[in-house]
Subunit: 364 residues, 2 copies
């Protein structure tokens, strides 16, 4: 596949010392996939300097052989719990300090684990794998570019089929089927399709409102590759003559988005880029109508680190892929959000998405 | 909608004393939806004897008004964290002992919460809402019956369209689109479509294998209503003359499933029903090829309490809906699983699903 799971695990193993642990227990599903290529669930990864073991059950015995050749596997039957197996492998390995993923392990899981594994010390490692995942390798970038291509071909179909009597839901389904027909494994998330006031709800579900109910149609969508990588875009289309306010709001959002994108480069803090967009929107008098963060990383998950928000002290690095998605939402009227996917490069940034975004392009 | 969210919350409030708490913080997404009807995310529910507050952010301000009329809402802006708001409402309420959902809250979330909310005592309540959700009310049963109907109409379309050159993936997409065209909001989970050896992987992804590659085709699928309720079925179809072993395995699985279903009634332990099927499969010599639990509750989540496994001491009660899904998987050859959705009734059980399941029905 061109993806090198063992080199990713090597990077993690090189961090064990810095994390102050002899071993790591990886329970986050996307983290397990990132490190091994395994696409199932209910499976944890145990890593030490000398051992790599997938802890799973009989449902996944054959699938693990297929997807993770060369990786050790410990299969339990229906009578034993995951914690029983963790207890076994920890004891056998002789480690003393086990790192666990405190961003993924629930309180209940941790307490059950503690009660089975008394002799060792647990170290909370919040996001060791997430930090590796922030920087996309060449193969991952190819996957994200594919996910973008499926999404962009899909929206072109929708755009060509827009007519007054389509409902939000019908548009959602046309979009999903089009993306698949071009090769997507599925959607990156439930597409948001909102006409007029529905578009003013940043996370609305596509409902029964018709295109003819308002000139403004907001679509927030993305595709997922069969390899699990995602894209995330938003466009607003004007399906009838937009009001002056619609045009004004659109131009403000676009200006804010473009200025924020141009501020992206290695070394800049996420809150600084967020502020570029937020200040422009506030200066235009719409500050209270932009309540969410400016963007987020994408990859195997639709919301990854780094997050752009007023309080985010994270710093951009080359190889990160982030959405940039300012919005203005006028309750009961309409919403405008413009969202693109941007790669941080050594010299600054590259916009990976190419659906036209000028106001004139939005009028269909 | 016919659903009574406030009576569900009243049931929970009546349990505060038994749980040893003055208030509860509900952070599980499906639990919040169950208690309020809210369909978004990133939103927690704070409940005391006198207060009911949704803790959310500006993205959901209008949606909360629409979906949860009469419920108090506390909206934070992008500069404040969820824990800041929890800290506020806990202080204002004057409570001393706060119940948290230890099955949902991660270690990181809990530690952040603790650091913001020092004066109170936290009580771990693992599954208070999950226990309420086990017993489905009349409206919920209607939703599940709808989800089953969409799934059954969908599989009838697939069955009518089966032909040798279809791939697993094509079948998956035909099925998903058919379920939607009958009124489903989507799938209950990623449908499993496995020809021959793929069907021997209990949780395989639909791939590129063709129907013509083996007589045995396993499909595990379900629909989801727009209200969020799910169905879950599995059938095996023989698209060419099945081998004698295929027929033998099929008959063993069906016998095990039917015997297990007939053992379901209020008061019986889940492990006892599991044992009925497991013993029959073991007696037929296939014990080591059935590695997973016999079934699980369904509802707003695809896997709910109660779970049927050899170690499950949970007891069936009238109003529960469970899958019954024994399987035999012969690695590299084929798999047979037969799965139906069963309601526990006062007098015993009612099988809610009606897709034919005799061996003769399986031969298409």
């Amino acid at each position: 596949m061109g993806s090198n799971y063992s080199s990713r695990r090597s990077k993690l193993i090189r961090q064990l010392k810095n994390l102050g642990v002899d071993g790591l227990l990886i329970s986050g599903l996307s983290n397990v996939r990132y490190l091994t290529g395994f696409t199932g669930d209910s499976t944890w990864l145990f890593v030490t300097a000398s051992d790599t073991l997938m802890l799973s059950d009989t449902r996944y015995e054959t699938q693990l052989e297929d997807e993770c050749p060369g990786v050790g596997v410990r299969i339990r039957d229906a009578r034993r719990s995951m914690n029983d197996v963790v207890s076994d492998v920890v004891r056998e390995s002789g480690i003393e300090r086990l790192g666990i993923e405190s961003d993924h392990l629930t309180l209940s899981q941790f307490h059950a684990l503690q009660s089975k594994t008394e002799a060792i010390e647990f170290i909370f490692t919040a996001s060791a794998v997430e930090q590796l995942r922030q920087i996309k390798d060449k193969w991952e970038l190819e996957q994200i570019r594919d996910a973008i291509r499926f999404a962009e071909k899909g929206i072109a179909v929708v755009r060509s089929m827009l007519r007054p009597d389509l409902s939000e839901r019908q548009i959602r389904f046309i979009l999903e089927e089009a993306m698949r027909s071009f090769g997507a494994g599925g959607t990156a998330f439930e597409p948001i399709v909102g006409v007029g006031p529905t578009g003013a709800l940043p996370h609305a579900h596509a409902g029964l409102r018709l295109v003819s109910d308002s000139p403004a149609l907001l679509i927030d969508w993305g595709a997922q590759t069969f390899s699990g990588y995602r894209s995330d875009l938003t466009r607003v289309f004007f399906t009838a003559r937009p009001t002056r306010q619609m045009q004004q709001v659109y131009e403000v959002v676009l200006k804010a988005q473009q200025a924020a994108i141009q501020a992206i480069r290695p070394g800049v803090r996420c809150c600084e880029v967020d502020a570029v967009a937020r200040n422009l929107i506030a200066e235009a008098g719409f500050g209270r109508y932009f309540g969410h963060g400016l963007g987020h990383g994408i990859g195997l998950d639709i919301h990854e680190s780094a997050r752009m928000s007023p309080s985010s002290e994270q710093v951009f690095e080359a190889g990160m892929v982030t959405t940039v998605e300012p919005g203005i939402y006028l309750p009961g009227k309409f919403g405008v959000r413009i969202e693109d996917d941007v790669l941080v490069t050594a010299g600054g940034y590259e916009v990976l998405t190419s659906v036209p975004r000028e106001f004139a392009d939005a009028v269909v």
